[in-house]
Amino acid sequence: MTMDTQLNRRDVVKATGGSALAAALAGCSTLLGGGEEGNGQQQVEDVPDEPIQAGLQTFREGAPAVLGLQAEYGAQTAVRRINEAGGVAGREMELDVIEEAGAAVENYTRFVDEGKDVTFGPISSGSHEELVPVIEEQGVVNVATDGTVTTLYEDSDPQYSFRAQNHDVMEALSAARTAIADLGADNIDTYANINPDYAFGYDEREIFNAGIESLTGGAEEVYSGNPALGASDMSSHVTAVADASPDVLFTSCWGGDITLLLSQGQSQGLFEEVGVTVAPVLYGSANDLSESDIEGNIWGGSRNFYWGSPPTNQWTPGQELFDEAQAEHDVIPTAHFMSGYGAVAAWATAAEKAVGLVGGWPTQEQIAATLENHGFYTPAGYHTIGPDHQGYSTAHFGRAAWDDDLGAPVLEDVEAIPPSHVSPPQGEASLEWIESW
């Protein structure tokens, strides 16, 4: 370990407030128990001894499991690190994980009935929209892993419902900025969309269209298709876009859908007909892509976490998390790994902060109040939860390339975009903000 790295770690530990829990979640594991920072565990008399009961709902089967299992692995890693660091104010965490598909509200209600202290999830945008009113009614804090539809926290004023991952506006605008950076605004006259046929896909398209049209001064959409989630065939959309030969193709397809689109797109010459393809959730399928899938000018997003950004020689927590994920789960950790990890880290660091503030174990209301404007570190860097209950972190976009040594895709020329560049000021609606440019 170099001196630079050690200093870097100490800086991070200080920034986290010196708590062993916060340091462990930031990825500074080698400093824990080292003496100079102390173990940082808060000793408060009114904190109960029994473990914290937490529930996570995520996709564990089928095509969506590509993302859902990553969230589960991330949440498990965060819980393990918390427990190894002595727990939240001395309380260990126990995580119960259940299948999300088609049962988001039932799962949350079941968790509440079982007396869970906190719940995490869901992944699905549609389920998250359905769930928020129930969370507000039941009053047990939920930190969503994804469910990133933009308007959800713009149109409501929740108390108990939070979201750790960046919302759609950040990745859709990152995609628009990437297309502009690659081709130049003056060279973009046309664009096309292929997005999944549900709330997330429509939200992403609406924001991308607004962004690309504002940034180019009026590029024209020449095609928009919405294949079903878990589609068996994308060839018709591939053919239609290839025929239109747009300058930019935007696709928010994810999981098995993006691999199918890339596979059929390559077989039908799609990426030779398109100037640049920008896909905000592409790297979520990093473990399933082959070298031939990503030939051409294809840029992928990785939401609030790409393990190689900042470069691993400058920011070791990313490399350490990568190594842990490889060793424990044999996967490349993607942004959805951070969705699970970040959700747990957000709640745990806020709960510990609240213990210090109230001098005992906090109520749901007190934890929720602490989560507002809360900041914390993870291996992805620094995160904040805004007063709107939305998580804000650096967004990542890079050119998809194949790494022979890794035997997997990586992102090159990664642009790390701060939240203020791709999300509106607090209180402003995203679309109105974009249209005001």
Partner: protein, 319 residues
């Protein structure tokens, strides 16, 4: 409007039609099993989509192993070896469905033939769930993607010989689908076993009186249905898609649409219905992309209004 597209971009029209034929033939192979099982056994098998999924998972393992053993083609001899390995993997994957579906029929389905239809629905739905869990248990919850077949087969020139580019894998799958249709017509019209199956479908009591073992016929038909669904899954799974738990649901729904359009129990109806659904939904994208998902159901409603028994309306019989 379709005419405008046709004349403005005939290449696009041809390619979308080929897309529709490819998907249509996949649907046909699934739906044909569903329809013959219903035609002969009178059972609407809700677990049929899982046979398709099992075929996709099997080809992931079998073709993956064989391709790994023979390697990627570098010359004519290795290309022939590679093609043989893929063909063998497809057939073996589908063939596994023969004993699997035969056992399911003999052990689980047979005891409820005489009971109310609701028992069949409950049983086959339970089978759907159990098979899905079984797939997750054996292959894991994450999608499984066979690599190195689709791209390699596409290097073979087919449509390039007539002046345009289209995935050769899809072209070959269309030809295989045509072969399956031809085989089924030949089997049911020209072979003794096929005629026995048709006779059993038309009049079970008369067939029994003439010495036909309906148990054997039913097992054969159920196994055939499983085989062709598994074959469809193997062809699709060795191509562009990943095998994943739950992948059988959408094709099952569309297969119901196909057999309702074609006429329950009719193989010709399944053929025409599948091609109609596959091609029309792709043409719909040319005119109005948002209509893609609705197109099959609009066709079904239109057919039911005009011909309530479907295009070939052979309810309860194999035609």
């Amino acid at each position: 409007m379709l005419e405008a597209v046709l004349f403005a971009s005939p290449g696009l029209f041809v390619e979308q039609t080929l897309n529709g034929l490819f998907f249509g033939f996949i649907l046909f192979m699934i739906a044909t099993g569903l329809t013959i099982i219903f035609g002969v056994l009178g059972v609407l098998n809700l677990a049929h989509g899982e046979f398709y999924a099992l075929g996709a998972f099997l080809v992931f393992s079998i073709a993956g192993g064989l391709v790994g053993a023979v390697g990627q083609p570098t010359g004519t001899a290795s290309a022939v070896l590679f093609a043989g390995a893929i063909a063998l993997a497809l057939l073996v994957s589908a063939a596994v469905l023969l004993p699997v579906s035969a056992i399911i029929e003999a052990v689980l389905v047979r005891p409820i033939y005489e009971r109310d239809d609701v028992y069949q629905l409950l049983l086959t739905y339970a089978l759907l769930l159990m098979l899905a869990d079984g797939l997750a248990f054996v292959w894991g919850a994450s999608p499984r993607r066979l690599q190195g077949v689709f791209g390699t087969v596409n290097r073979l020139p087919t449509t390039e010989l007539v002046g345009f580019s289209y995935p050769s894998y899809n072209v070959l799958a269309i030809l295989v689908g045509l072969g399956v249709f031809g085989f089924l017509i030949w089997f049911f019209e020209r072979t003794k076993t096929g005629r026995i199956v048709r006779a059993t479908a038309i009049n079970r009591e008369a067939a029994t009186a003439m010495g036909v073992s309906t148990d054997r016929v039913f097992t054969l038909v159920f196994a055939m249905g499983g085989f062709f669904a598994g074959f469809a899954g193997a062809i699709h799974g060795a191509g562009p898609i990943s095998a994943s738990v739950g992948m059988g649901v959408n094709p099952l729904v569309l297969s119901f649409v196909v057999i309702v359009v074609g006429g329950l129990g009719s193989i010709k109806g399944a053929f025409v219905g599948a091609i109609l659904i596959g091609v029309a939904s792709r043409w719909a994208i040319l005119v109005y992309p948002a209509a893609e998902l609705a197109a099959p159901f609009i066709i079904m409603i239109a057919v039911l209004l005009l011909r309530p028994k479907g295009l070939y309306g052979a309810w309860g019989e194999i035609e």
